[in-house]
């Protein structure tokens, strides 16, 4: 019955008919574009996720056709189902924009902002979120919280300071593996992802927690500090895997496979879960049948201009000289004169392992 009923919902003045029981967030994603609220904790493939990060708050200015009263508070769009005739304001509501900027500030409050050394940088949802919805500075003047380090075994690296406690990895472990070994310990701002007590995460599918993590709290140890994601080229590939679908994305530099992840859709959600063997053990091109380059449909600032066919390829036709009446832009300092890092004389992909500053030192030869 419910799958045939269509509810009309208007989000930011764009109307769409969606099946009854659809959440506001999913209805907005059906419309697409800027109308879709950001989601840090909601994950459509994980049952029970969502409602925690509060970034997807929207204003319901009209409850439904039957009961047109607006909802008194902002609601979490990922957990609120649409009603017939509902009118939702997302980016058109100043209240929502203000509350969302507040949530971003809260999320970044204790975040270490160590993006320059974080493996997630470039594909981090928190980077995107703060760029799109946050303010340029923080008003927080206190020491950020730190945690005792937990070792989760040889595959998964936990950086608790970066965690935004979205609970996605907990849901993923609950729903993908037979027995969850990690969880949230403690309470409030000192709650942390950990195992009780110092266990390895051992399950064929536990590697997927890396993919569901929106930030760099859970990263791939086999890829740790090896390369930046924007230097790598994503390729669709598959192999005949006895445990999982074997459909993955390889992140290559030249022929070398730096890491293997599951394929992610335009909302950054995994299409098919993959097993640990595919993810961590198969790092040879010969292990895989390459299908072709994967188009990354991402709005990330860092991914812009690095992948053909994404946003941000539209460049102005005028040169700077033309705009400035023949004058050249005045630089205070040309970085290339003092540093050779950006113009290395060496071929990075020919270096065995990660590059070291010594590699860039011409006197080193």
């Amino acid at each position: 019955m419910s799958d045939t009923t269509l509810f009309k919902v208007t989000i930011d003045n764009i109307s769409i008919d969606v099946p009854a029981g659809t959440t506001i967030l999913n209805a907005a994603r059906m419309i697409g574009g800027d109308v879709a609220p950001p989601a840090m904790c909601y994950y459509s493939k994980l049952e029970g996720s969502g409602g925690k990060c509060r970034t997807c708050l929207v204003e319901v200015s009209k409850g439904s056709e039957k009961d047109p009263r607006p909802m008194p508070k902002l609601v979490a769009s990922c957990r609120t189902t649409v009603m017939d005739g509902m009118e939702v304001k997302n980016i058109t509501s100043p209240k929502v924009v203000d509350a969302r900027a507040g949530v971003v500030e809260f999320l970044l409050l204790n975040h270490p902002l160590d993006c320059p050394i974080c493996d997630q940088a470039g594909e981090c949802h928190l980077q995107d979120l703060s760029y799109e919805h946050g303010k340029e500075g923080t008003r927080y003047e206190f020491q950020r919280r730190t945690f005792k380090k937990h070792d989760l075994g040889k595959y998964i690296q936990l950086h608790m300071t970066r965690c935004i406690l979205c609970y996605r990895c907990v849901f993923a472990a609950d729903q993908l593996t037979g027995k969850r070994e990690h969880g949230i310990l403690d309470r409030g701002d000192h709650s942390e992802i950990a195992t009780m007590i110092e266990k390895n995460l051992q399950n064929d599918f536990i590697g997927n927690v890396i993919d569901v993590c929106p930030v760099g709290a859970l990263t791939d140890k086999t890829f740790r500090f090896k390369n930046r994601v924007w230097f790598l080229k994503p390729m669709n590939a598959h192999r005949d895997c006895p445990t999982c679908s074997g459909k993955v994305t390889l992140w290559n530099r030249g022929e070398e496979v730096f890491r293997v992840t599951a394929r992610k859709d335009q909302w950054g959600e995994v299409e098919d879960w993959i097993c640990n063997e595919c993810r961590f053990e198969k790092k040879q091109s010969s292990d895989w049948t390459i299908e072709g380059p994967r188009l990354i449909d991402r709005h990330s600032v860092i991914s812009q201009g690095h992948y053909a066919g994404t946003v941000g390829t539209h460049m102005p036709t005028e040169t700077i000289e033309a705009v400035l009446n023949g004058r050249k832009p005045k630089l205070l300092m040309d970085i290339h004169e003092v540093s050779e890092v950006n113009r290395p004389k060496i071929e990075l992909s020919k270096i065995n392992g990660p590059a070291h500053s010594n590699n860039f030192n011409p006197d080193n030869d």
Binding site: K73, F106, R187
Partner: protein, 450 residues
């Protein structure tokens, strides 16, 4: 002298034992309800009584009961919320400790009305000795045929289980309580679905405060309409107020909600005035979460009318010039108390008790605590006060459960009414370490000690 309905017999010698309680007229309501009334009639009677939830929100109890879903073949549950953790509130503890059978009696009647065959009392872990008292009362009631199978030969079965919490304020929120009762981490659930549809183990559940359930006993005994005659307006019946702070007689008082705040604070029957001949500075009338009010607004509303101890009068003027009845934790501050320090103390509590599930509460409570600590230590800046205001505004209403609001309101109210004291802490930082701000224009204009 108002009427007492709950604590009337609380000090009879040996009232904790079944024999004495029964001799004093206990368990009459069970006999009346189970033998002569249908569950629908009981719900109707509670609706007529106008009983409002005593846990803090003040939602009409009969209305809440009528929302419970009744799907065929699915058990329903009643849960008694005895996780009384609000700073300043200790009324349920008093009731359970002195007259436990009253709660058991109310629970049996309410279980019958809601069709709950397994009823739970979720009690906070810090009340370590009270579960023993309750379990003894349950055992006695069972031995006398008021609990267990086929109660009083009416064919109604009911068991009451006592579940201890592990000491978390958040587990007083009804969905967090349900999670904890199920043996999980006490994180509030995202509503909807409400517990009346999906509560304990996915079954329809009603969660009520101890005092609410105990109040069902006089409602059944005397009838809903009789009960509604006590009190005033929509504040019917009697309310337990736990008064503490700088007063001569701290303790639990049963009031009939017609007395004025002034009478409550200064009358010898209740608080007995401010201790040590000091003057009233401020008051938090309903437990730590509700807005603090300066003395002049506490005794009189903004319109200049007398403020009474009931739901409507205490919230008169909204949050701008009013407060809330809350859970009845009446905290009185005299002229020697520092509002900044008090607010810091509350903020520290909420930072510690935030479950950490949703970001505004998890991060915002900690931030407010740090800012207030800095202000209290005389290291604050005047911009910190505006920042605090902005933080509380961004927490309030944007969280999963009311803990975010509860953390934001005290800070908001303190800045709203006592901003000059915060500013003094910035401008006279060194002096603020040695003495208190004392009274200002918001002091109580009536009672000057002789």
């Amino acid at each position: 002298m108002g009427r007492k309905l709950l604590l009337e017999k609380a000090h009879v010698e040996g009232i904790r034992s079944f024999e004495v309680y029964r001799r004093e007229g206990g368990y009459r309501s069970v006999e009346k309800a189970l033998k002569t009334m249908s569950p629908e009639e009981i719900v109707e009677e509670v609706k007529k009584s106008g009983l409002r939830g005593r846990g803090g929100a003040g939602f009409p109890a009969g209305m809440k009961w009528s929302f419970i879903a009744k799907p065929e073949g699915v058990p329903r549950h009643l849960v008694c919320n005895a996780d009384e953790s609000e700073p300043g509130t200790f009324k349920d503890r008093y009731l359970m400790e002195f007259i436990p059978h009253l709660l058991i009696e109310g629970l049996i009647v309410s279980s019958f009305a809601l069709g709950s065959n397994a009823t739970y009392i979720y009690i906070r872990g810090e009340y370590a000795w009270i579960p023993d008292i309750l379990e003894e009362a349950i055992a006695e009631a069972k031995a006398n045929g008021f609990l267990g199978k086929n109660i009083l030969g009416t064919g109604f079965d009911c068991e009451i289980y006592v579940q201890r919490g592990a000491g978390a304020y958040i587990c007083g929120e009804e969905t967090a309580l349900i999670e904890s009762l199920e043996g999980k981490r006490g994180n509030p659930r995202i509503k909807p679905p409400f517990p009346a549809i999906k509560g304990v183990w996915g079954r329809p559940t009603v969660v009520n405060n101890v005092e609410t359930l105990a109040s069902v006993v006089p409602i059944i005994n005397e009838g809903g309409e009789e009960y509604a005659k006590i009190g005033v307006g929509k504040s019917t019946g009697t309310k337990l107020i736990s008064a503490c702070g700088n007063i001569n007689k701290p303790g639990v008082f049963e009031i009939d909600m017609t007395i004025s705040v002034e009478e409550f604070i200064y009358s010898d029957e209740y608080c007995g005035g401010i201790a040590n001949g000091k003057r009233l500075k401020a008051c938090i009338p309903g437990g730590s979460s509700v807005p603090i009010l300066p003395a002049n607004l506490m005794l009189k509303t903004a319109k200049g009318e007398t403020r009474y101890m009931n739901y409507e009068s205490l919230s008169d003027g909204g949050f701008a010039t009013g407060s809330m009845m809350g859970s009845g934790g009446f905290i009185v501050l005299d002229e020697d108390q520092c509002v900044v320090r008090n607010t810091y103390s509350l903020a520290r509590f909420y930072r510690h008790e935030s479950c950490g599930q949703c970001s505004p509460c998890r991060e915002g409570t900690g931030w407010m605590e740090k800012l207030l600590y800095r202000l209290e230590k005389g290291e604050g800046k005047s911009s910190d006060i505006d920042l605090l205001w902005d933080i509380q505004r961004k927490i309030e209403g944007n969280t999963i459960c009311p803990l975010g609001d509860a953390a934001a309101w005290p800070v908001a109210a303190a800045i709203r009414h006592f901003r000059d004291e915060f500013e003094w802490h910035v401008s006279h930082a060194a002096e603020a370490q040695t003495r208190n701000f004392g009274l200002a224009h918001y002091s109580d204009p009536i009672h000057v000690p002789a």
